[in-house]
């Protein structure tokens, strides 16, 4: 203190005795000879730290805004424009986006070329979704501004979302009700289209549930026969096989009945058609059941638009995808993501916590434990695709292959568990996220005060009782934090999943009504992979682009919901085990 006082300028000598803070406040500016180091002043660091935080927040906000805007507006119905070009062709479509481009000047009309040249050779063009892929061979068309002669929005144009072939843009020229051609009548069409959709769903139900069940049973009988042959030999298995054949014959008879019913509905359905005419006059006559949704895009009230918006979201979260995933819903992907993440948590939680318990509480702290700890931390830095390769090689091929040979020999050479599946995917992700859980659990355990453990031991509790009743409850919120981090990482991971069980389109969910009800061997769909797939792997990436944002928005929402649930649970626990204050 004395030496500090000696360094002070005389004017602030009295205040100097009161301490550093007081001196800062009292010493006149410019006379502080005692603080030559810039870092002694807190402000530059403050600006740096605050700036870094602000930058981070701005980037995250920007990202969220882009996703939110694009995701939220995709399903809003947009008007159909009828565009007449200068060369006389007419097209109709929904405006998608616009951009400037550099047209080939040599191929332009002289007067157009002049205007373009005035703009330094640039012109503006618009991408129209002209749809009608079955007629045009393409869904989109670029139209430059200088080509356009006239743009109108006729009320007669409808926007049809179809079961196959994607969207149709055009007008309704007529319809066929029960085989009888008639004029288009909106009321009749609405009613008949709804009835046709109901028939469509009926067919799907029959095919999926009833026929699916029979197929499943026949397949099981066939497998039973093979198993009997494999176990008992051809001759000994003969009675079993005969019995099984009888059963198959019964099932096939049942199948015939159902198939006949399906054919009957199909035949009926063919009588209900609608005649659609594209802007150039070409017509198609699809069955009404093929029309998923239709609306007069230029003749909608605000409420109707909202209705379509809501109905599209409803379809998105509750239906299966169609048109190579670029339309329809993502229910299987939502299901797959949630199921896989939960399975992963089930695997990773006990494994990670037990490992951390041993490392922190039982293992002798020394060089070997340090090496193990460092290795675990390093595991978190291994590229996730490496885990995918490992998962495929070890889980799917080695473990799955062994399981197949031991338990499902009748199915070979078709693999049951010996290929990618939801079980292997969640195990792979569990492996990927286990370091996070171990590190978090270890820290949570280390944070339990020594006095707590001593208190318990002094009561005559054994080490395990102390851990079980005192340490673990106290560390639980910290462990939960680790689980939340692991869940967030696991739910957002895509690369390893592509190797161990995620597919573009899964024919069935991992859980269904057929024995054994939970099929952990099945491939599944995943929202993260879905984004990659519709954005970059689909027939027409332009068609999939809006779905990228919608799916991203959904995936983010899903992760937020899962994490929020976990955080709420953790906070409950925290409150329960809050430390005492006095």
């Amino acid at each position: 203190m004395t030496s500090l006082n000696e360094q002070l300028p005389p004017a602030s000598g009295a205040a100097g005795a009161a301490g550093v803070a007081a001196r800062e406040a009292v010493a006149p500016r410019g006379r502080r000879r005692y603080s030559a180091d810039l870092s002694a002043l807190g402000e530059p660091a403050l600006w740096g730290f605050g700036g870094a935080l602000a930058l981070g927040i701005i980037m995250i906000a920007l990202f969220l805004m882009v996703v939110l805007y694009n995701g939220a507006t995709t399903f809003w119905p947009k008007p159909i424009e009828r565009v007449e070009l200068t060369d006389g062709t007419v097209l109709a479509g929904v405006e998608r986006r616009g951009t400037i481009f550099r047209p080939d000047l040599a191929r332009l009309e002289p007067e157009v070329r002049e205007t373009v040249q005035e703009n330094d050779g640039f012109a503006y063009r618009t991408l129209y979704q002209t749809a009608n892929f079955d007629l045009y061979g393409d869904d989109f068309r670029w139209v430059a501004d200088f080509e356009i002669a006239d743009v109108t929005r006729p009320a007669e144009f409808y926007y049809f979302e179809r079961q196959v072939w994607g969207v149709f843009v055009g007008r309704i020229a007529g319809m066929q009700v029960n085989g009888v051609a008639m004029e288009y009548d909106p009321a009749v069409f609405r009613r008949e289209q709804a009835a046709a959709r109901e028939r469509f769903r009926e067919i799907r139900r029959l095919e999926r549930n009833d026929i699916g069940r029979i197929n499943n049973l026949i397949e099981r009988e066939r497998l039973n026969q093979r198993r009997a042959i494999l176990r008992q030999g051809e001759e000994a298995a003969a009675p079993t096989i005969a019995q099984s054949q009888e059963r198959i014959a019964e099932l096939q008879a049942e199948f015939q009945v159902l198939q006949a019913r399906v054919n009957e509905i199909r035949a009926l359905d063919r009588g209900f058609r609608v005649t659609l005419e594209e802007v150039g006059g070409r017509q198609i006559e699809p069955e009404m059941s093929q029309i998923v949704r239709y609306f007069a895009a230029n003749d909608l009230s605000w409420a109707q638009k909202l209705g379509i918006y809501v109905s599209r979201w409803g379809e998105f979260v509750s239906a299966e995808p169609r048109e190579a995933n670029t339309q329809g819903g993502v229910l299987p992907a939502i299901f797959g993501t949630v199921a896989m993440t939960l399975l992963m948590v089930i695997f990773v939680a006990p494994f990670g916590v037990i490992t951390a318990l041993y490392l922190r509480e039982y293992a002798k702290q020394g060089r070997i434990t340090s090496i193990v700890r460092i290795s675990v931390n390093n595991l978190a830095g291994v590229p996730s695709i490496v885990y995918g390769v490992f998962g495929l090689g070890f889980f799917a091929y080695t473990m799955g292959g062994t399981i197949d040979q031991l338990f499902y020999p009748e199915n070979l050479p078709n693999p049951t568990f010996g290929k990618g599946g939801i079980l292997w995917a969640s195990l792979t992700l569990a492996l990927l996220t286990v370091p996070v859980v171990i590190v978090a659990t270890e820290e949570a355990l280390a944070a339990v005060p020594r006095s707590m453990r001593e208190g318990s031991l002094a009561c005559g509790a054994s080490k395990w009782q102390t851990i079980r009743y005192v340490v673990l409850p106290k560390a639980l919120p910290g462990i939960m934090t680790g689980m939340i981090l692991a869940m967030a990482r696991g739910a957002g991971e895509v690369a390893p999943l592509m190797l161990v069980g995620v597919v573009k389109l899964a024919p069935a969910l991992p859980i269904d009504g057929f024995y054994p009800f939970i099929h952990l061997d099945r491939s599944f769909m995943h929202l993260g992979f879905h984004i990659f797939d519709v954005g970059f792997q689909s027939r027409n990436s332009e068609a999939g682009k809006p779905m990228v944002f919608v799916t991203t928005l959904l995936l983010l929402t899903l992760i937020v919901i899962m994490n929020a649930t976990a955080i709420i649970v953790r906070n409950r626990l925290k409150r329960k085990y809050a430390t005492g204050q006095f």
Partner: protein, 269 residues
Amino acid sequence: MQDTLEFEPTAYHFKTSDEGTALDIRDFNLWYGQKQALFDNNLEIQKGQVTALIGPSGCGKSTLLRCLNRMNDLVDDLRIEGRITVDGFDIYAKGVDVIALRKRMGMVFQKPNPFAMSIYDNITYPLRVDGVTKKSILDETVERALQQAALWKEVKDRLNDSALGLSGGQQQRLCIARAVASDPEVLLMDEPCSALDPIATARIEELIEELKGTYSIVIVTHSMAQAARVSDNTAFMYLGRLIEYGDTDTIFTNPQKSRTNDYVTGRFG
């Protein structure tokens, strides 16, 4: 500093109890790694009495206390020599059931350390880890222990509330109740009042007064006034050695060793 303390025999003039010796510490040495922390301690803790361990910081009084119920087993690299016997059996002998030993020794720590459970569960903890599940026994124990710790009146209506909601003094009394719940023979107290305000300290001291007789109490304290107030015998330790062990009045008014005199009169420490 250590070499300035040449060996002198301990001065003994302690009050013996009618009931005999609770704990007998014989030629007790202790090392943390290479460093010796206790040197040839010989001490007889009398049954039913309060024995205070005093001395400057780092003199080994807490270490010695924590050896009595083998809490020091948690420390790596610890080595001991000598014997501590309870009713004639050596607690550091091979194959001693440490858990059973700790059940005979209640312990109260420097900072109140109630578990994050209800008051009821805190007190029944020593019984539950022992496998007692009968509700009537647990209920009975909770009432007896809380009454012994003079906490019953304050908390009897909220036994199922979290123990962490109690004040610091109440928490420490709860810890005492927990320590006596399993009906131990000895109560070890490691500076039980150092984290408490004067009023709470006074209550704990009254409590010690009431509990002595029922239990043999060993208390480590920094406060000489406290040692003088609550204890029958006082042991003065310095740099790991037991300097003087005698009845409290003599230690504080007429110590036989000059170093004890210096300490109790506040000349050092």
